[in-house]
Symmetry: C2
Subunit: 102 residues, 2 copies
DNA sequence: TGACTCTATGTCGGATATGACATACATTGA
DNA sequence: TCAATGTATGTCATATCCGACATAGAGTCA
């Protein structure tokens, strides 16, 4: 089983629990994952508040529905860059991002 | 002149000024750049506080001195992911990251 | 039922970021 | 002066991420 696949499956597990143990992640790896998952969650929440479908958000971002779905699912192939860009595109400011991590 | 080169040169310009105007960036693009540059700055500050050379930090990150230099220089080829991972590796917590953006 | 909308997931070729290397420059100290 | 140390910058092959596409599943409405 390759690493990519494993990480994807492990990501599933993260849905319940709080993304730190039952995987042998170092504290900083865990924090990194936690940040990404938090932003994933916030992205979905923000999109729903604005009553946008994934398809509509995808257009706004010049991306695709499938990538938006992956972003919201916390797929490991989604970068922090893309998450942050997306939140900014939805109107979040730097300060709002800061609050999301607090 | 290709886009990659242009962005690199523009990054130089960011050293003075505050990364928003004199480049025709949309507000969210500007915010994105601003976030990256802020983290770049913080990375360098944190490294120096710990009295580490770029080479030493590179070893810690399993990266290379040149990449650390690029991170600190705000080179556009450096991702937010790498910046965040690096700060976490230097001991910054999610909350500290939050404060850095505030 | 079936059409429609929204979301999830797998895959793929092309785009971008990566570590590594070479090399130049700056500073320090002997 | 020279060597040592630290930093900057360009390049490259490879790894990783990207948008796009196909397709499946769930929910809604007539």
């Amino acid at each position: 089983m390759n690493t990519t696949k494993r990480k994807r499956l492990e990501a599933k597990g993260w849905k319940f629990g709080n993304a730190s143990d039952f995987l042998n992640l170092s504290p900083e790896e865990a924090a990194y994952v936690e940040v990404k998952l938090e932003l994933s969650k916030r992205l979905q929440a923000t999109r729903r508040e604005k009553n946008l479908s994934q398809e509509q958000l995808a257009q706004l971002l010049k991306s695709s529905q499938s990538r938006v779905a992956k972003m919201e699912a916390g797929d490991p192939t989604v970068s922090l860059d893309l998450l942050v860009r997306s939140l900014l595109a939805l109107g979040a400011s730097r300060r709002v991002l800061s609050r999301m991590l607090a």
